[in-house]
Every structure is written in C-alpha cells, then in structure tokens.
C-alpha cells in the first residue's frame, strides 16, 4: 500500500502565486523518503496540504488509502507532523503538550501516559516533563515536536526540517531514533537542508523545484547519476605545483589540491601521477556531499532563465 499518493496537486495562493503546478508523488508504506528542494520550491506547501494546514486548489491526496477530501478524518489520523517552526503552547508543560495531542486523536488518557513516558524517555525529555515548553533549549523543542507527533502512533510521519539548528550530537541521536521508528514500520517523509542527512537516512527521494517534481527515484539510482566528483587532497609541499594529465584540477592553496574525477576513471591514476612527482597525499575528502552536487545540478538544469 502507498502511504502517500499525490496526483496533479496544484496550489495558487491569494495574489496569484502558483506554489504547486501539478505535483505527482507517491511514497510506499515503510519507506524513508526525502523531499528536497530549494527555498520556495513548494515543499512546505505540499506538506501543508497533506497535513490539512493549507487548502489545495486542485488535485488529489490519498494517505494510507484514505482520500484527504472524502475520508478526511481517517486520513488525518494516519499522519504525524513535525513542522518546521515550533508550534506548541509555550506556557504548557512538556507532559501537557504530548497528552493533549494524544487526546485530540482519541487516545485514552492512561494509554497516552504510557506513550508519553515511552517517547519522552526515548527522546531524552522525560526529565523535562514538568518543564514549560518555553524553558526548553532549541534541540529539546525539536525533540518535543517529534514526541508529540508520535503520540497517536501514526503510520506516516512527516518531518519538515527536524534537525534545523540542532547540534551534531543531538542530530545524530535524532537520526538514530528516526531510523529505529522507521524499522518498526512507520513511513517517514523528511525535508531537510542537510543533504548528508537525506543521503544517510532515506531510501527514496524526490526533488521539487518551482512547484513541480523534477526527480523522483531511489537514492541509490540518483547517486549513480553523479558522473564526476570533486575531491580535495591535502598534499605535502614540495615547492613545485603538481601536474595531472587527463584531469581537471586546481590548487586551492600551496598544499590543497582539488581534482575532478570521473567515476569510471577512479582515483588510482591521480595517486600514481602524484607519487611519480614525489608528492604525498596526507588526507583526502569529498569537496561536497554527493547528493548536494546532484541537487544543485538538477535545480540549476531546471532554472536556465535564472542562469542567463
């Protein structure tokens, strides 16, 4: 079954701004799915329509087999939403926020209390259960929104930039948690600006730009489309600049070499040539995330007018 099936979705805001121009998208149940796009591409509008915060202009949305127009309540019950911005009552305690959320979905209070303990503990918030939301740090607030979204145990969890502004340690613990709940069967749709996050977590991906889906495929097949990668090599200073035949390369500074390498060529010829010139490679890394390179390329391909 499809956790989410969107067909011909359009949205024109008052004032005539057309945010979505016919989005078609489907996400299989159990998937960990990335929805990426530059700012203003239509990600939040799409999520807003799916979660009933934005009225659609045309098209259809089906959530876990329920039509969002005709079976709205059943469709909504399947969704858990972690929005981009904090949207809880700042004066309520952590416990009140999660228990209220469970109540809105008809979860009996005794069950809600058990779930609150489970999810708040898993997200390291149990010790803060009596704290008011406004007293929490940014990372805690993000985790609270995840706990809140899980209180009715949704089949589809939508996370709109869940790790924005969160330090790397907490981000990694959130990744681990999201992987675990995905393995337990919850379908996850993620939007993020951290592309390594999408690459690490997601099995399938869609890229939206200017209100249309420009790419919708598996992460694996998307990454295979990347034919050239740029590597940064830290080399020892020999006094002479290295020369690499058959490669595009440039020196960022006296001991930092950037080389564009085609996937079919591999790195061995680079190391051989450098070795022949008496240059040692001390360390090496990708210039940018692989997905990032693809993302930029796809979005740029789709925006020729802006480039001109």
């Amino acid at each position: 079954m499809k956790a989410l099936d969107i067909s011909g979705l359009t949205k024109t805001y008052k004032g005539g701004v057309q945010a979505l121009k016919g989005v078609d998208l489907s996400v299989e149940e159990g998937d960990f799915f990335a929805l990426l796009g530059p700012n203003g591409a239509g990600k939040s509008t799409t999520i807003g329509i799916v979660s009933s915060l934005v009225n659609q202009t045309a098209g259809s949305v089906t959530v876990c087999g329920y039509d969002l127009k005709n079976q709205k309540e059943k469709a909504k019950a399947c969704i858990g939403l972690v929005p981009q911005e904090f949207n809880f009552n700042q004066f309520e305690t952590v416990m009140q926020i999660v228990l209220n959320q469970a109540g809105y979905y008809g979860v009996p209070r005794h069950v809600a209390k058990q779930r609150a303990e489970k999810y708040l503990a898993q997200l390291d918030l149990w010790g803060k259960r009596h704290a008011r939301a406004r007293e929490l740090s940014g990372g805690m607030k993000r985790r609270l929104m995840i706990a809140r979204a899980l209180m009715h145990e949704p089949r589809l969890l939508i996370l709109d930039e869940p790790t924005a502004g969160v330090d790397i340690e907490i981000r990694r613990s959130m990744w681990k948690f999201l992987k675990e709940i995905n393995e337990q069967g919850i379908t996850i749709i993620l939007t993020t600006h951290y592309l390594e996050e999408a690459e690490m977590l997601c099995r399938n991906i869609a890229i939206i730009n200017k209100g249309i889906i420009v790419e919708n495929t598996s992460m694996k097949s998307l990454l295979t489309k990347l034919s050239i990668e740029t590597f940064i090599l830290d080399i020892n200073e020999t006094g002479t600049a290295p020369v690499l035949k058959g490669f595009e390369y440039r020196m960022a500074d006296s001991h930092t070499l950037e080389v564009d390498v085609e996937k079919k060529e591999g790195l061995n010829p680079v190391f051989t040539q450098l070795s022949e010139q008496g240059i040692q490679v001390m360390s090496m890394r990708n210039k940018s995330n692989r997905l990032e390179e693809l993302f930029v390329r796809l979005v740029e391909e789709d925006s020729p007018a802006e480039e001109a």
Partner: protein
Amino acid sequence: MSQEKTADMTHDSEQQSWFKQNYIALQTIWIKECTRFLRIWVQTLVPPAITMSLYFIIFGNLIGERIGPMDGVSYMEFIVPGLIMMSVITNAYSNVSSSFFSAKFQRNIEELLISPVPTSVIILGYVGGGVARSLIIGVLVTLVSMFFVDVNIQHPVVVIVTLILTATLFATAGLINAVFAKTFDDISVVPTFVLTPLTYLGGVFYSLKLLPDIWQVVSQANPVVYMVNGFRFGFLGKSDVGIDISMILLVAFNALMYGIAYYLLKTGKGIRS
C-alpha cells in the same frame, strides 16, 4: 517492512469508535481550556468579583439608596441579575477570543487543525471553556451579591437556562472574533466598542420603562436587553420583555453564531492558507 512489524503498529483511529474518539478529544480541549483560565485565576476569576463588588457598593449601596425602588424592588435587587449577566457576557467572550487567538498567534491551533477532531468538537471545546469560566464567575458574583442583598430566585430553571444560553452565545461570538483577528488589538475592539455599550445600554442599571418611547423601541434591537431581562425574570419574576421572546431569541442567536463559527472553521478562514 515485515508483516509482523506492520501488524505491531497501532493505529488509534481504527481502534476507537467515532463517538469515543471525539468524546476524548472534546474532553481534552475542554480540560485544556479550563486549566488555562484556572492557572491564571488571578487574572481571570478575581477581577470580575472585585469589579462587581465595587458596582454593588457604589451603585447598589451608596447611589441605589437615593434612587429608591425600581420595578417594585430595591435598586440593589434590581441590578443584581444585570451585573451577574454583564460579567458572564464579558468573560465568556474574552475567554474564548483571547484563548483561540493566542492559539492562532503561537500557532498551536495547528495541533488541532492537523488532527481528526471535527469542527463541531473544536467549537464545543473552546465554547465549553468560555462557558465554564463565565459560570464560575456568575456563581462568584452571585455569592458577592449575597453580602449586599438577600438573593431570592423565583424561577431557577429560567436562571440556569438563560445563563448557559447567554454564556454559550457570547463564547461563540468570541471565537468568531478570534478567527478574524490578526492582532491582539483586534480582539479588544469588539468588547470595547460593541459589547460594552450594548451591555450598559441593555437594561443592566435601569428599567426600559424609564426611557422615552423612541429609545424603548430602539433598545429592543439590542440583543443584550433580552438576556438581561430574561435573567432578571428568573430572579425577580419581573421583566421588561416577555420571557418567551427572550428564550426564542437566545436560541436563534446561538444557532446563528454556531453556524457562522462552523462555516469559518470548516473553510479555514483566518486559520488556513
């Protein structure tokens, strides 16, 4: 994903009956609303009791003795129902308008909008909160009034029904105000420029019979007149307007306000893009 894992997943909406699910949702909203005004009881419950005590002392005790009887009862007895009704109207309205607008402002209204809670349950939950606060204040003001006058209720059923219908009506009106409001100023405009004049000119402090004929006719266009007089009938057994007309209008206004609130929330006016 394995079959076992899929089977393990709990899907609450499919396990609960429609009625039970919505009853829990309604209870949750109502308790949340009551918790809110009880948490800030110094701001929500105490001021009306103090204000009304001052009204009783100044208008009832000091000035009232010089005014003499009104409609065959002491002036103090005459104003008690009106003052209770005035505090009920004001608090029912302001409770829901400020709470709902605050939820819009902090965006936590989205918690409800994304959930499967039906529009009618959202309205009932918020209005129920406003009614609860105004009834508590109604009881408090009644208790305060007992320090100044012997309160005799002639028709208790009329008192209770009028009180609940009026509180419901103004709580729903407060909700409508909050839906349209874009700033905190917008939720104080209606109480200041509409509600207060209507209440003061609604026969709280005087009998309509004291007015010139033309103003008696004009006053009958003021819905608060019917609420105050219906309530006064319940207390004193006397009223400027018929109790049947008061009840019919209260029910009609409630139906109208509910219809407007339902339409606004259902279509997402002011709360959805």
